[in-house]
Amino acid sequence: MKILRINMNEDAPVAKFEDLGDYQGLGGRAITSAIISKEVDPLCHPLSADNKLVIACGLLGGTAAAMSGRVSVGCKSPLTGGIKEANAGGQAGQVMGRLGIAAIVLEGKPKGEDTYKIYISKDGVKIEKDNTIKMLPNYELVEKMKKEFGEKIACVSIGPAGEMKLSGASVAITDMELRPTRHAGRGGVGAVMGSKGIKVIVLDDAGTTPRQPKDAEAFKDANKRFVAGLQKHPVTGQGLPAYGTNVLTNIINEVGAYPTYNFKEGRFAGARKISGEVEAELEKQRGGNPTHGCHRGCVIRCSGIYHDKDGNYLTKQPEYETVWALGGNCGIDDIDKIAMMDFLCDNYGVDTIEMGATIGVAMEAGLLKWGDADGAINLLHEIGKGSYLGRIIGNGAAFTGKAFGVERVPVVKGQALPAYDPRAIQGIGVTYATSPMGADHTAGYSIALNVLKTGGFVDPLKPEGQVDLSRNLQIATAFIDSTGMCLFIAFALLDQPDTNQALVDMINAFYGWNMKDTDVVEYGKKVLKFERDFNIRAGFTKQHDRLPRFFYKEPIPPHNTVFMVKDEELDQLFNW
């Protein structure tokens, strides 16, 4: 495996392959965070030539391992000012792996205003100026790439939001149907790609073969046990395939942790109408599909295809956090309009969570009424148009809150809180507060134990045990994000030690390593250390590891609790 460095500083951009060197043994989030931590000046401006954008497949990317196609996108984040790893599904990870590329590092910054596209195949790298693709939305862009390079490609691209360098901009990855539906959404990674002048990276694996393990027999056997374990577990084998992630709407609402009206209440009256159960039923009725994988090799298939009322493709099945952000959080209970917003976010290239939280803040400011779905859709179109208002919204909740003088702004380190209220689920509050990523549920998904009872149970309404819980999950997640595995495997790993062992065996068989459980923990800690260390050098202190004050002062109904984990306890998270 190689690192591909593309330097945009020169008059003609230069591509160079390098050995992994110091980064040997690192994949996914481990390699993006290592490169950013070692090579990027933590005090640089995120949109400057000194920042780098790293796109990496995982340790098992491009192999025959199930679930191994996730991609990590890393940089210094324009949204948080800290390190960022945004994780996405789609086809790019597998294709990169098969091309022998562990990481693509975009460096420097072009002098002019030209737009570039990059084509990578087994025969090499072509970097071309192409101003005909400037400001194209993602769907149109991918259509154009298909015409130019054929149907067997995977695209990594930005929409107009990335080109405008907005802090809510995402990097889109195409799925199996070659649609730009899977996004490295969080932290404004799309803006950094935009600052490099790169609109799209087209990956073509024609003529390549899967990466070969050191011990083929042991690898095959471990993969088999791993897949059987996923299929046996009720969540990864049944729950997720049937309803997708949006099955969470009802349960998070029932436990009173569904942030509604910009985090004012913990229950939404319209929740059932926008739940995964309703979504899956509509998809079946309209000829969509509720059970679909976001990349080849996914055996859980939590994704889906959402059709409009006339039976035409509208978007991929909107995820729980998307439906919450653009739905319940804004008092919107029309699933078709939410699906339309999901499409618009994907097309213009913005993070659905950040945009939903931002529209919630705009509603709080009185810019539009709670529940005004058409108004929300218009705001997203403003981003596409690049109007001044659109640029404010596209820069996220914190920026919009400032622009309109709003006090209640749900962000940590500048990044919007996702779909679980930390006053009703205390464990997730610890993750939001302490993750080097800013408020990010995936960084240490305490919901698994606080609500879903996978891997045990920790009472969500009490502060006790939440720091330990979040710490252990953050460490495990940092490892899983480095393997290229979808984090959803964790539900089976938490409950089934033999499935956990199968994953470790698979990595060992592939690389000829001898990793044990303790090494897995050390690996995860190493990744978090890269990240934490970068943030400290970027100026972050323990005061940044806190939730906004209203979470400590305003009780949320129905439980009427506040966030109760003490500051001193939060400060112990990284003391292991």
């Binding site: 997720l240 009802n250 729980y320």
Partner: protein, 83 residues
């Protein structure tokens, strides 16, 4: 005594019950009963894995229910990953 029972994630009851306008079961009983007795009475197609009583997750199914309680039942489910 009357309680409201909400079924989610494909859980269904084989029996006919009175329902409210949201489609939730209105369950009536005279003697005090426990959650596990209630679940038995309901004759469900799947065993509930997560039992929520008035917004609180209950692990001890010998907990008694009382007038106006709200019970929500879920199979094993999960989600939560972005994209």
């Amino acid at each position: 005594m009357k309680v409201t029972v909400k079924l989610f994630g494909g859980i269904k009851s084989d029996k006919e019950f009175q329902k409210n306008e949201e489609g939730n079961i209105i369950f009536e009983f005279s003697e005090p009963i426990t959650l596990s007795q209630l679940i038995e009475f309901l004759k469900l197609n799947k065993k509930p894995f997560i039992v929520i009583l008035n917004g609180i997750i209950i692990n001890d199914l010998s907990t008694k229910i009382k007038e106006s309680d709200e019970i929500s039942l879920f199979p094993p489910i999960a989600g939560g990953r972005l994209f």
